[in-house]
């Protein structure tokens, strides 16, 4: 035997041994030690049917020999509860984290979460395959991945809702608004409603909580109440003050004009929402907050079941805030992070598991309709589908009655076409200028609702607003935001 052949043979032998070892390891996998996974979530109150649903979930988890326990805390107290659990060093496996509840970057920096880089390839093949790479960018801190972004609608667009019966009655063509994104184009419709409908019909449901000023292709750095935005198409990431932006002035003047013409309710500035009026059928048109595929079903319910036009009034865009708005992290105190991740991968790979967690049991909590959609059975004792965005991959959810059959395909399409903000992977640290933020938020909180509902005269109040913003330290906030962005860009 020549030396070369011997070498080849020994390599082959070594390989076989390796493969055998791998296969053996695989076989061992089925004999995993039993493990109890504890998962902290926020939102759904304890469901009376939770015990039987969890029993079913545990059946599904038999292949990885795990059992699941989900502990839920309401939105108001989740942060505090988790901070206690984390600082007490209690062992748990998974928890919900985001930009708005249990702040991701701060909590990860405190060392509460496990870096997942070494685990993902082995234990989360499905997640790696499914999740767009932009998600990992947002979940990384200095190269370490500290959470798994939940797959759901990541893109955002503004929406506007018009009651179909009213629009049709006056021959209003909604495509004008859909093409121009210009709110002023609905003025003729509002005028017609004002002139012809009974006085209790509100032409436009403008109120403090729901304006027509929409995000004009910019990312709001510290939320809508804080000055400082970066335009989506601006790769230099220059921070500007949106309250001096022409879009703000335009919206403000439009709202004033409509207010004077009586299209807006007189007490709009103090109304947080108009859900009750919408349900009662008193509101003809209203802003929608966020436009999304299947959102027309929600909007229709909100309008008391009346048919509506649901119009997208901005291009879809994607900001860092939206990417990290729902994530799941593995705790650094987890006794068995491998198993926790195997379980989380199953949520992505198994529709049955995902839907059992969110909808409950078939024919008890939900049932399939003839067209393939699912509908929940009222008062069955289990339904957390409202919170589906907390459980991994929302695109695994069965299409619900009333939703378009391709709702998830449409959502994925929207995610893929959305313009991504240049700030993805960066988040604002408000700590250094907390005092200015409090002062400025108080000013914007007071004036925004007045100016954007048209309740006051911009001629006199707008200069007053700008002066107070300056006095409260708006410029300092913008400078700090710019400084942090520059530092982040330099470090990249």
């Amino acid at each position: 035997m020549s030396k070369r052949i011997r070498k080849l043979l020994s390599t082959a032998l070594a390989l076989t041994l390796l493969l055998a070892a791998a296969a053996f390891a695989q076989a061992e996998n089925t004999e995993l030690e039993p493990y109890h996974i504890k998962w902290y979530i926020t939102g759904p109150m304890p469901q009376p049917g939770a015990d039987r649903v969890m029993a079913r979930v545990n059946e599904l988890l038999e292949p990885i020999n795990a059992t699941l326990e989900m502990v839920s805390t309401d939105f108001g107290n989740y942060v505090q509860k988790m901070q206690l659990v984390i600082s007490a060093g209690e062992p748990f496996d998974l928890c919900y984290t985001s930009n708005w509840s249990l702040p991701f970057y701060a909590t990860a920096n405190s060392g509460a979460f496990l870096a997942l880089n070494d685990y993902l390839e082995t234990y989360c093949p499905t997640i790696l395959e499914t999740l767009p790479s932009v998600g990992w960018t947002a979940a990384s801190i200095h190269g370490g991945i500290y959470a798994i972004p939940n797959l759901q609608i990541w893109a955002k667009a503004e929406g506007f809702v018009i009651r179909k019966d009213i629009a049709d009655k006056y021959g209003f063509d909604v495509s004008v608004l859909a093409d121009t994104y210009d709110m002023a184009t609905i003025e003729p419709l509002l005028a017609a409603i004002q002139a012809n409908e009974s006085p209790e019909i509100i032409p436009i449901g403008l109120c403090a909580g729901r304006g027509i000023y929409s995000n004009h292709n910019h990312e709001e750095i510290g939320g809508p109440q804080l000055p400082g935005v970066v335009k989506l198409y601006d790769d230099t990431c220059t921070v500007i003050n949106q309250f001096t932006d022409e879009a703000f002035v335009y919206t403000m003047n439009l709202a004033r004009d409509w207010y004077l013409k009586g299209y807006v309710v007189p007490d709009a500035a103090v109304l947080g929402d108009m859900y009750a009026q919408q349900k009662a059928g008193l509101v003809a048109t209203t802003g929608e907050g966020a436009w999304k595929p299947g959102g027309d079903v929600v909007a229709k319910q909100q309008m008391g079941g009346r048919d509506i036009y649901d119009i997208r009034v901005s291009d879809p865009y994607m900001t860092n805030a939206m990417l990290i708005s729902t994530m799941t992290a593995v705790s650094a105190t987890s006794q068995n992070p491998e198993r926790a991740l195997m379980f989380y991968d199953m949520i992505f790979s198994s529709k049955e598991l995902y839907n059992t967690i969110t909808l409950g049991m078939e024919n008890v909590d939900y049932k399939f309709n003839e067209d393939g959609t699912a509908s929940t059975i009222p008062n069955s004792g289990y339904d957390v589908s409202t919170y589906g965005w907390e459980f991994g991959n929302q695109f695994n959810q069965y299409v619900m009655e009333g939703q378009p059959l391709d709702v998830w395909e449409q959502t994925i399409e929207l995610n893929n076409t959305a313009k991504a903000s240049p700030l993805i992977g960066w988040t604002f640290d408000p700590e250094p200028i907390a005092a200015e933020i409090a002062a400025v938020s108080a000013v914007t909180g007071e004036y925004n609702r007045l100016l954007l509902t048209g309740s006051v005269d911009p001629e006199t109040v707008y200069p007053e607003f700008l002066a107070k913003l300056d006095a409260a330290g708006a410029q300092k906030i913008i400078e700090e935001e710019q400084r942090q962005i520059d530092a982040w860009k330099a470090g990249q």
Binding site: G43, P44, M45, P46, Q47, P48, A50, V71, T73, D74, F75, G76, N77, Q80, K81, L84, S87, A88, E90, W100, Q152, I153, K156, E200, G209, R210, D273, Y275, A276, Q277, K279, A280, L282, G289, A290, K292, G294, G295, V298, Q301, Q302, A321, M322, S325, T326, P378, N379, G381, S385, T386, G388, W389, Q394, M400, Q403, T411
Partner: protein
């Protein structure tokens, strides 16, 4: 019986005096002011009850009215759509309130009594210890760690009772009342050979009913209204107290409706309880206490002045 007749007699005297001043302007002015204050307290409550029985559409069109324009009990159907949890939570809260009030009142009274005895050597030290916790506390995290890791209170009904057992303010309130207690009575008991325990239970306690009623009511309210301990320590749904359950419903509605506005997450249903359902929850949460309150009232007036006399 004797005490009762004294009260009647006093009442009669008072009535006679009031009759003399029937046309006094000052008196009527006083009544008017009191009536206004009373109305400020009662009218909102009536509104809550009225709104909880009004149909949602009528609310949107007519606004809030004291007499529902369209009567509807739908709100209560919504809240009670999940009766097992509701009944469960009521049971938890009622038992916590009863057991908690009883034990807490007993411990508070005993502690206050010990502190108020001048011949008790450690009296001043204990006094200081209680007072100290009134100003400084250990902070949330160590407290939580102590209860969870060392006492293992989480997910037990004791976690809803024990942390509130002694509230310094209540102890001082009780002590204030006891400081007016005649020493002679206690000394007489001692001379007659009564033990400290017997003196406390047979002489002192029966004579401070107003203090017991007042402090007891404070404690009962505290236990009844608490959701904080439940939020921290309870993860089992069978032990969730009523207030926490209602608080969660409200809190989640508020969050979901605002998140619809910001659009960060996709919310798929809009099955929010409406205005009237929220009011129905309010009625369910406060109702039982409203019924209990009048039984304590006769002690309450006297009890309120407890400790207000002298330092």
């Amino acid at each position: 019986m004797k005490a009762g007749s004294v009260i009647v007699k006093r009442g009669a005297n008072k009535a006679a005096r009031v009759r003399d001043k029937r046309f006094s302007i000052g008196l009527w002015a006083g009544y008017t002011v009191l009536a206004l204050i009373c109305a400020c307290c009662v009218v909102p409550l009536l509104y809550i009850v009225a709104i909880s029985f009004t149909e949602e559409r009528a609310l949107a069109i007519n606004g809030y009215r004291l007499i529902p324009s369209t009567f509807s009990a739908l709100a209560y159907e919504f809240v009670a759509s999940n009766p097992s949890q509701l009944i469960n939570s009521y049971t938890v809260t009622i038992s916590v309130t009863i057991i908690g009030t009883f034990i807490s009142l007993l411990v508070t009274a005993m502690l206050a009594y010990a502190m108020s005895r001048k011949y008790f050597l450690l009296g001043k030290k204990i006094n200081f210890a209680v007072f100290f916790t009134m100003i400084f506390n250990v902070g949330l995290v160590p407290w939580y760690i102590l209860n969870v890791r060392y006492y293992h209170l989480n997910n037990t009904i004791f976690s809803l009772i024990l942390p509130y057992l002694i509230v310094p303010w209540n102890v001082f309130l009780f002590k204030g009342f006891l400081s007016e207690f005649p020493d002679a009575l206690i000394e007489a008991a001692r001379i007659d050979g009564s033990s400290e325990a017997a003196t406390f239970f047979r002489i002192v306690l029966p004579n401070c009913k107003p203090a017991l009623a007042t402090v007891g009511l404070f404690i009962a309210f505290m236990y009844w209204n608490d959701w904080w301990l439940g939020m921290l320590y309870i993860e089992k749904s069978s032990l969730i107290p009523l207030q926490l359950m209602l608080y969660r419903i409200m809190n989640n509605i508020e969050f979901l409706s605002t998140s619809l506005n910001t659009g960060y997450i996709s919310v798929t249903t809009t099955l929010f309880p409406n205005e009237s359902a929220r009011m129905a929850m309010c009625v369910l949460a406060t109702g039982p206490m409203l019924i209990v309150f009048p039984f304590f009232q006769k002690y309450f007036v006297k009890g309120l002045t407890v400790g207000a006399v002298k330092g």
